[in-house]
């Protein structure tokens, strides 16, 4: 159990590092997007084109990086929306069961299926060193590879969630009272952590907003 906990904590740290890094992409994306918008007008009125397909594609590459790289980080911090009309009324153990079963039955198989069926297209993209069909566009194989990375990270994070929720279920019944600090490992990583997301840890007593 101890080594499993260490693995889980390491996964959380990895995804939190990634999460802290991708926040900056949002800012870079705004700058690239504004540049593209301005360049299109500047080009139209001066006849001198600053813009290029590379910059236009860069903006959706950045967009893709945010959600592909961030999905696992989001799972760790409970950013993925839940319908909490029932969930919010459940106790700590019942929630742990839902998260455990959901991870095992849905998330892990989904991540596996996505890795399995994406492998071929991505390998193919590398084989032909696929590049944008538009002149001056960016190579496609790196960004397509990120799809694999995304679901691999998601798979890792699902494993971490399984460990953490199993831990809750292994506690003696009526064990530690559901305190707000039960998100054992969510606060380890750098960047935005449980400190500025009260209740963000998936195994905490609930999302920041609870229906009751």
């Amino acid at each position: 159990m101890r080594s499993l906990q260490r693995i889980s904590a390491a996964i959380d740290r990895l995804n939190d590092r990634i999460g802290a890094a991708i926040q900056w992409i949002a800012l870079v994306m705004v700058i690239v997007g504004s540049f593209n918008a301005i360049a299109r007008y500047a080009g139209r009125y001066t006849g001198f084109s600053l813009s290029s397909n590379a910059y236009l594609e860069l903006q959706w590459y950045l967009f893709s990086l945010i959600f592909l790289m961030g999905a696992a980080y989001g799972l760790n911090h409970d950013y993925h929306v839940r319908v909490d009309v029932l969930y919010a009324r459940l106790g700590r153990r019942a929630r742990a069961w839902i998260n455990l079963i959901g991870s095992v039955l849905f998330l892990v198989p989904f991540a596996f299926v996505m890795l399995w069926i994406s492998w071929g297209p991505v390998a193919n993209s590398w084989a032909i060193l696929e590049t944008s069909p538009d002149p001056g566009g960016l190579p496609r194989y790196p960004i397509k590879t990120v799809i694999l990375v995304s679901f691999f990270l998601l798979l890792l994070q699902a494993i971490s969630q399984i460990v953490k929720n199993a831990e809750i279920l292994a506690e003696p019944a009526g064990g530690p009272s559901a305190g707000p600090s039960s998100g054992s490992s969510a606060a380890d990583g750098p960047g935005p952590t449980a400190a500025d997301d009260p209740g963000a840890a998936v195994d905490g007593p609930g999302p920041a907003v609870e229906r009751d």
Partner: protein, 433 residues
């Protein structure tokens, strides 16, 4: 076979969603479970699943969806750098000398700022935090206070540039610019109706909506002018320029969004409010919401793919095009279902799960999709206001002080629900004329 598998999968997916497991992955799970079951009985060809990487890539390269993080960024910068608070305060001072003026200011700010976020939880929470204390301090009756804030917080669902209209445009295959244009008039009518109601209350029951106290209004004219020029006009101009450039066809929503985000940062910097803290908060919100919305879309794409593979879409189309009353029957059923679902699931889930299924039947019945999108938006907005489950009320309860019981919040929402229903009925009647 769609008549069996369609309802089974739809109900199965809803049941999984209601367990509280993250919707994106519950939908993906439902897709896997039902593709496996379908495969066992030979009704589903697993080769269909191979379309998923390509669909995912389509979402990545989707130019329309790119506008989503830009508008979130713009909205959160305005909010986190306290520009929104300044705006409300200034409008409050400007109109606060009249009875009901402060409430009207809140509605105006809601219409403007929620326009840039469009996530009901975020806008109601922000509006509540900013305006609840001010209105209570100035002696507004609790019911009116919470009603105004809950209603103003939902205005952003329909008033452009709301991000729900962007995803709706993407899901319905209609231009976002057209949806923005179509949403503007009903949005302004709603805003106007709210204002008329508040003015009516101020006239009939002056004690419910008092004017601000003389001392809080007692600032020199030059100071007031400085505030109007400094705090009120710039964000107004920013939002008008963003919308104007989209409506004039000068900029795409994506371009306007990125420039709007840059403009919001420039405004914050001008007020020396672009702190590292505000910037980080904006980046964090943008990241968080982008991950949430896009993965929800990926999960529901898997769901829709399998649902179609099992011919559930044909079942829905048959069901909805065979209703008595033709397109009116369709509208009634779809609106009733969406209204009911709106109690439990947010706009994004409805846009990603339900909307793709009703687009084809709507086209068969000759219903204008842009108009349908706006009707659905007003409908969901009404649903958010309806007790006891409405999202807007629920989030407001999260920020309201203990002294305001839930029943007060529910009662406060009633007049605004009536306004919503009148506008919704008008919208439907207008299209049928």
């Amino acid at each position: 076979m769609g008549e069996v598998w369609g309802p089974a999968m739809l109900l199965g997916a809803l049941a999984l969603i209601f367990t509280g497991y993250p919707v994106a992955f519950a939908l993906a799970g439902a897709a896997l479970v039902f593709s496996f079951l379908g495969m066992l009985v030979g009704h589903f060809d697993p080769v269909l699943l191979r379309a998923l990487p390509d669909r995912t890539f389509g979402i990545m390269a989707n130019y329309t969806l790119l506008a989503v993080p830009f508008f979130i960024f713009m909205g959160t910068v305005l909010e986190k750098s306290d520009l929104a608070e300044d705006l409300l305060e200034t409008i409050g001072i400007l109109f606060g000398r009249f009875r009901g003026g402060l409430a009207i200011g809140v509605i105006g700010v809601g219409a403007l700022l929620a326009a840039a976020t469009g996530v009901v939880g975020a806008s109601v929470t922000a509006m509540g935090l900013i305006s609840l204390p001010v209105m209570m301090r100035n002696g507004y009756k609790d019911e009116l206070t919470v009603g105004v804030i809950a209603a103003a917080g939902t205005l952003g669902q329909i008033i452009p540039p709301s991000i729900v209209l962007i995803v709706l445009g993407d899901q319905m295959g209609v231009s976002v610019g057209a949806l923005f244009r179509a949403g503007l008039v009903p949005g302004l009518i709603l805003t106007g109706a709210y204002v008329v109601y508040v003015a009516g209350v101020a006239i009939v029951r002056p004690e419910a909506a008092p004017a601000m106290s003389a001392e809080s209004l007692d600032i020199p004219g030059s100071e007031l002018l400085r505030r109007v020029m400094g705090s009120m006009l710039p964000p107004l101009v920013l939002i008008l320029v963003v919308l104007g450039s989209i409506f004039a066809g000068v900029a795409t929503p994506t371009e306007a969004g990125s420039l709007g985000a840059l403009g919001a940062m420039a405004l914050a910097a001008m007020h020396r409010r672009l702190s590292m803290e505000a910037l980080r908060a904006a980046m964090n919100d943008t990241t968080r919401l982008t991950i949430m919305v896009i993965f929800l879309l990926i999960g529901s794409t898997a769901f829709t793919l399998v649902f179609r593979g099992l011919e559930g879409d044909l079942w829905i189309a048959d069901l909805l095009t065979d209703l008595p009353g033709g397109s009116l029957g369709f509208l009634l059923v779809v609106n009733a279902v969406v209204f009911g679902l709106g109690f439990f699931i947010d706009f994004f889930e409805i846009a990603f799960i339900i909307v793709p299924l009703i687009v084809a039947p709507a086209q068969i019945l000759g219903i204008d999709l842009t108009w349908l999108g706006i009707v659905l938006a007003v409908n969901i907005q009404t649903s958010f206001l309806t007790p006891p489950f409405g999202f807007s009320l629920f989030y407001l309860r999260g920020v309201a002080p203990e002294s305001i019981p839930p029943t007060t919040i529910y009662r406060g929402a009633v007049p605004f629900i009536v306004i919503q229903l009148i506008v919704l009925a008008g919208l439907i009647a207008w299209a049928r004329v």
